[in-house]
Structures are given as structure tokens and as C-alpha cells.
Symmetry: C2
Subunit: 442 residues, 2 copies
């Protein structure tokens, strides 16, 4: 993409309304724009990151056996009256009446609707296990939305729902999602730590939050240092093997880890002092097992091998992709801007032409742009007539992993500079070596 | 995907509520489920089609120079008061109050919001042309939603918005979208005919609908037979060449074509009788040029080359992907079910094991499934213990382009049968020839 044709509204000044660094950097980098309290447009640069994040989530959900569907945003109040949550949910639920004065609501979550889908089609234990997920907009009418997309009212959520015959099978389904979350956060470039959590309004008896460590994190967390060395399961994890999956979960839940709310000073003091990691973290995922909390009142039952009706045992599993993006920025930035992990960067490479209009620079850039693009790299080519300093500032701000810098002096010697955004390391190399540098056949 | 693990709730009976064939077939094929009046979940099979359709739309929007962003579903009423449409829009607009009693609405379209984004960032003609689009859920509170996803209340829409300095540039932007629509509908396997249209509540002075011909179409249309032979522009169309693009539009707007509303008997009678095509059609796209209708009241202006402020000239361009899917089914089905065009089929191949449990059949199917999947084909493997007749009926109903049928008698002779869903043609071939049949190295 040529920057002269790209809608990238960079802000030079720090926006006053942004209280945290991710919000500030997303606004400054032209990723988002606020449309109303707690409501944001994703501008083209932000949309690219959102797509990359969602694709990774999707791949890992599918790998773990979950199936994607798509439920509507607007729900009938009837369903929520069945589960008893319509009155419980309070003012966070955005309630709506249509032209026929029917009570509706903008879904804050989908337990009721997915249970309704399940009960209308699935009648036998033979059709289990089943795990259905979607990635859809949700709305929670927070009193005071803030921190940009970290706590917005309209936000994207991947929510999965598992259905099983009994507790044991349901625990296995929970474990598969647990492992898929470890892999998902690892793939987006983050170290996540699962922590035992409160179940809150979703209900249930077993729940973990996945926390990313970041100095600017919203809450204090306490964990054993061993977490930092635990191996994340590979792409070849055998999700069909319940015991193997349970072993992974066991390894990741044995060392001490707790958010402030669940912190237990006695257990903590048993951790060796040099292994105590007290840090700050951001919740990026939350999984719940809640058994028959919804299936029982809503009549979602299957016939078991015993010929009897059993309310299914359920769990739900959430990741907020929009919130995850903010969390990645909180964990990965410096004073100049964002530092994207390669897997979720909006573009792989910033190609910087220091002197647009100079024939040699223009030609070298055109050739590099064509070669890198043809090789499948996403390149943002800064072909604007801004001065070089401004271009460097923009490239650092938007945080692409690599900068390829083409200037007249270098080109005269047949050379370009390659800068790693994360380490700051610069390398001068022959123009002809750039293709090989990015893993392509020369 | 193995059917034993796939959530595909096929209905054996015709659902009574479905008045048109696409609604009936989408329900029967387990593509959608109604959640409330005019509101549907997209089940896994339907979601796959929706994704394929959206990807084709996206590729053609990008090719024509449009840039993707993503605006929220909930909008502030303030914006609509600026344009004057908040009171005009009537009961079709879903109006909402949040917990602070602020007036909001579920966006039925996005002219106001995108104009607001534009005016806050773009100040100079040098940043034009600009075309921003998104694919996002919309809500229109129809009095009597019906016909399934053909006329639902919550529906997906791709809406693009162009911004230009003057009428001439804006017309060129309109033409680019016109051509990209021709290519989009062609790529999803449909012949579309552009017809001059009323502008309705969007406003403006130039508008075309894109109509797919289908016997079961909602409205009468009249067009010159030459349309059926016009060449759709290739992927190499030069969108940078305004004159070339205008020539294509000219060729596609010269022969007579009109919906019932715009029909002109005098012009029609001038068409040679043997060239008069009177048919039924379904609107699948609508493009509008409306100049400064929104930019003027909302103050979206840029500085021109003359140093003066000019309200930008705008157009908007819509395709309903959910509606398009229904239209494709109306145009492409038979008494046994859906007949998907290859580009949008949820899977490429139905692999049918006629005798699950038979060692030779199971082994042949496992090998075919692995080989076809490894070659990048999307295969739905019917490994259920249903009888063969039921499997054939399901495969015909869900309409995958190819069926590969593996039975014990054929396998004893080293042979399988390959059936083309559209033509019904069957071909018996050696098991070893199947890979080559689907374009793969043997």
C-alpha cells in the first residue's frame, strides 16, 4: 500500500481524553476514532490488526474443535426472561423496544441464544461434544466507559459455548478451550498466565482468567516465576486426547497464580521469595464452566446412553479481540510508539523513501515494493513528500516490525538501511540483499 | 470436515413460515435459524457462504481503490440531526436511549458517520479521491419482515462512501464502483444487469440498481437482450484510467434496462421485439451519487487548488451480502435443493461414504479426504451411519458443486463415482484418478 493513497490520519498531538498509553497510541497512529462515549470506528490501520487477531483466534478455535457460526446482535427479551437474567442484568444491558413495542436488547453475551439454538436441534448425546462460537459485536452500557477500546461499550467478542453430556466431558471441553487460549495468546506474541477467577454474573463453579503482564496493567497480579518458563503447547497438540490435554492444563494451573481479588497470602508466602512475581496485568480472556445453569431452566436436554433426559453441561469462553489489541500495545510499546509483534502487525514492513522525486530513490523503492509485495509481504510504502524526520516518526509510531530506509546517499553506493523497530538495530545492506533478508529467494 | 463432527441441522420437512424458495432451502439446509422477527443466526454452513461472499466483495472493493474500515453499529442521534434525517427516517430506524437517556440508534446506513470521520481528518483536495467502506450489521425495523434473509431487520451490508472535489471526479468514483459491482456479481457466479434507479431516502441525482435475473424474483424487469452477451471486465481492469472505466460504464448503460418503477413504454417499444427480455429480477446492489447532500449540512469541505473551501461531492455504494446469498439461491436451485456456484459454495466437494464400517470404503474415503484436503479443497465427508439415500438427499440439498461417491461395489473394482450437482452428470473413474480430476497433481 502506498501511503499517498492510504487513509492514515496520524495525530501529532497527544489527545487529551486518552488516559492510558494504548488509547493514546491508537488514536495517534490513526487506528481508531471515537464516535460516541465508549464507541469507536476502526480506521484502516486498526482494521488490519483486528483482522489478523481474529484470524488467529479463529484458527485456534477451529483447531480445538469449535465451530463458527454467527448470531445476531439484537436479541429478544423473551430468552433472557427464560434464564432469569433479564431482570438481573441491570443497567449494563442496552434495552430496546421495536416499532411493535416488543422488548429486545443488544446482546452483552450469548448464553441464552446459543442454548436456544442447541435445544431446537440437538436431542441425543450422540451429537456431543459440541462447541459453537462466534465473533460478534456486543454492547454493555457501562456507566463510565473509558480507556479507549480497553473498556468500550460496543466491543467485539469471540464467545464460544460448549455442550456436553456430563461434568467429566464438560471439563474436557473446558480444558480444550484452556489450551487453545494458551496457544492463541502465544501466537499474538504475548505471554499469558491463567489465573483462577471469580465467575461473576455468568455463574458457575470453575473459571480462569488469562492475564497478560504489562507494567501499565489495570490490576495487581501475583504468580510463581515458573510460569515465565512454561512451554506453550505446539500446533500438534492432540485435542482428541483428553488425558494429554488435562496434563497441559494441570501443568499450567499448578504453580501459584492469582489476581488481587483471589489472592491468598498464606499460599503466596509458601512460594520461595526469589520465585514471587508481583506484577501488573490485563485480563484478555475468561473461561467459565457453569454446568446446567442455563440448560436446566431453558430445557436444553439430550437423551443419554441410559435412555433418560439429561440437561447438558455447559461452559463459555470469551476473548475480546478489540480489548486484546489494546493490551498488546500496553505490553509492547516505547516512548516513540507501538511495537507490534510480527503476527499481528498491520503491515510487515515500512518502506521509507527519504527523497521522493529523486530518480534513483524512486526506482529503488518501486523495485523493492514490487519484490516484497510479490513475495507476500505486506508493505506500507511511504511515498509522501514529507521530510525524512517526519517519516521516521510515523514509522516508529505505527510500529511496523521492520523499516527499510532508502536514501540518496545509500542508493549511490547501492545500499539501503534495514531497521528493527523492536531492538532499534540498524543494518546497512546491498539493495540486492533485501529480498533474501526477508526470507525470499533472491 | 467430517459430518459426524459438523453442526449441520438438516430439516426433513418444509418449514411452514418460509414463503419463498431461498428461505425454505436455507432453513432446510441448516444454513440459518430464525431468532426473532427478521433476525437470523448464521449456522456453520451459512457462515461459510457468508465469508466467501464477503471476501469476494472485499477483494473487488480493494481492487477498485476503496479502503476498508469498520464503524460501530450504534450511532449517536446527534449526527442524524445534523443531516436532518433523524426526524425524516421514520419508524424503520431503531431508536434507543442509553442509561444516561442519550438518544442513539442502530445504524440503518452510515452516510452521516462516515462524513463525520471524513470532516475530522481530511482538509485538502490533495487527499482525494477517497473511498471508505465497511462490512457491518445494519438494522431496519421493517413493519413486516419476511422472506428470510432476503428482507430481514438485522442484515449485513457492505457500504462504501466516496469523497471527491467536484462532480467530475465524483462521477469517476461512481464509475469505479459500478465496474467493481459488475465484477463482484460475476465472480459470485451471477449475471447482473445495472438499471437506472430511484434514489429514495438516500437522495441524489444518479443511481443504479444491480439486478440478478431469477424466475422467482421479487419484481418485473425489462432489458435489452444484448446484456446477456456483454463482456464483464477482467481482473486487469485499469481503475486508474477514468476514460477506460467510463467506457465500460457506457457500454453497460446504453442498451435499454429498467425496473418496473422506471419502465418507459416508449423507449421499450423501440427495442426490437426479438431483443425484448421481460423477466423477473432481484436487486442485489445499489449505488448512488448524491453530491453535497450530506457534506454541505455537515460541513465536510476541503480546500481546493483555488485555495477556496469546497463541500465534497459524495456517493454511496451498497451490497447486502446476506441478501445476495438468498438471491443466488433463487437464481440457482432445483427441486432437490441448492446449486452453489463454485466460488461461493460452503465446501467444494461432498465425499459420500455409502457404507461406513466397510473397511475398504472407510479406507478409500480416508485417503481421498486426506488427499483432497491437502490439495486445498474444502471437503465435507459424510461419515455418518445414515443410509445412502439420505446421504444423497443431503448432498443435493446443501448443493455442493461435486459429489464423490464411494460404495462397496465400486471400490471392489477400484472405482468411485463423481457427480456434478449442477448438470447431474455422473462419471465412474478409478480411485487413483480422483486427485487429477480435481486439478491436483496425481
Amino acid at each position: 500500500m502506498r501511503l499517498t493513497r492510504y487513509f492514515l490520519p496520524i495525530l501529532k498531538e497527544n489527545p487529551r481524553e486518552a488516559e492510558i498509553v494504548s488509547h493514546r497510541l491508537m488514536l495517534r497512529a490513526g487506528m481508531i476514532r471515537q464516535q460516541a462515549a465508549g464507541s469507536f470506528s476502526w480506521l484502516p490501520l486498526g482494521k488490519r490488526v483486528l483482522d489478523k487477531i481474529c484470524n488467529i483466534i479463529r484458527e485456534e478455535q477451529n483447531r480445538a474443535g469449535a465451530q463458527e457460526l454467527l448470531m445476531p446482535t439484537i436479541q429478544s427479551a423473551e430468552l433472557w426472561r427464560e434464564s432469569g437474567r433479564y431482570d438481573d442484568y441491570g443497567k449494563e444491558m442496552l434495552r430496546i423496544q421495536d416499532r411493535h413495542e416488543r422488548d429486545m436488547l443488544y446482546g452483552p453475551t450469548n448464553e441464552e441464544m446459543v442454548t436456544d439454538i442447541f435445544r431446537s436441534f440437538v436431542k441425543s448425546y450422540k451429537d456431543l461434544p459440541l462447541n459453537l462460537y462466534h465473533i460478534q459485536w456486543k454492547f454493555r452500557d457501562e456507566v463510565r466507559p473509558r480507556f479507549g477500546v480497553m473498556r468500550s461499550r460496543e466491543f467485539l467478542m469471540k464467545d464460544a459455548y460448549s455442550f456436553d453430556l456430563d461434568y467429566e466431558a464438560s471439563k474436557a471441553a473446558y480444558n480444550r478451550m484452556f489450551v487453545s487460549y494458551l496457544r492463541t495468546f502465544d501466537r499474538v506474541g504475548m505471554k499469558s498466565i491463567p489465573m483462577r477467577a471469580d465467575t461473576g454474573p455468568i455463574g458457575g463453579d470453575l473459571s480462569h482468567e488469562f492475564i497478560i503482564l504489562a507494567d501499565t496493567g489495570e490490576s495487581a497480579v501475583f504468580c510463581h516465576g515458573d510460569f515465565l518458563n512454561l512451554q506453550v503447547p505446539g500446533a500438534d497438540v492432540d485435542y482428541a486426547n483428553d488425558a494429554a490435554v488435562a496434563d497441559i492444563v494441570n501443568a499450567w494451573t499448578t504453580p501459584y497464580a492469582a489476581t488481587e481479588e483471589m489472592h491468598d497470602e498464606a499460599a503466596w508466602s509458601a512460594v520461595a521469595a526469589d520465585k514471587q512475581v508481583a506484577a501488573r496485568g490485563i485480563e484478555v480472556g475468561h473461561i467459565f464452566h457453569f454446568g446446567d445453569k442455563y440448560s436446566k431452566p431453558m430445557g436444553a436436554s439430550v437423551t443419554g446412553p441410559d435412555g433418560k433426559e439429561h440437561p447438558v453441561s455447559m461452559g463459555s469462553y470469551g476473548i475480546g479481540p478489540s480489548r486484546l489489541i489494546a493490551a498488546i500495545i500496553e505490553a509492547s510499546h516505547d516512548e516513540n510508539g507501538i511495537i507490534w509483534p510480527e503476527a499481528v502487525a498491520p503491515f510487515d514492513i515500512a518502506l521509507i523513501n527519504m527523497k521522493v522525486g529523486d530518480a534513483a530513490c524512486d526506482q529503488a523503492c518501486d523495485e523493492l515494493y514490487a519484490a516484497l509485495t510479490a513475495a507476500g509481504k505486506d508493505v506500507l510504502y511511504d511515498d509522501t513528500d514529507q521530510r525524512a524526520g517526519g517519516k521516521f516518526a510515523t514509522a516508529d509510531l505505527i510500529g511496523l516490525p521492520w523499516q527499510v530506509i532508502v536514501g540518496p546517499r545509500g542508493i549511490a553506493a547501492g545500499e539501503v538501511e534495514v531497521k528493527n523497530r523492536k531492538t532499534g538495530e540498524r543494518e546497512t545492506m546491498p539493495l540486492t540483499a533485501v529480498a533474501a533478508r526477508f526470507g525470499m529467494a533472491a
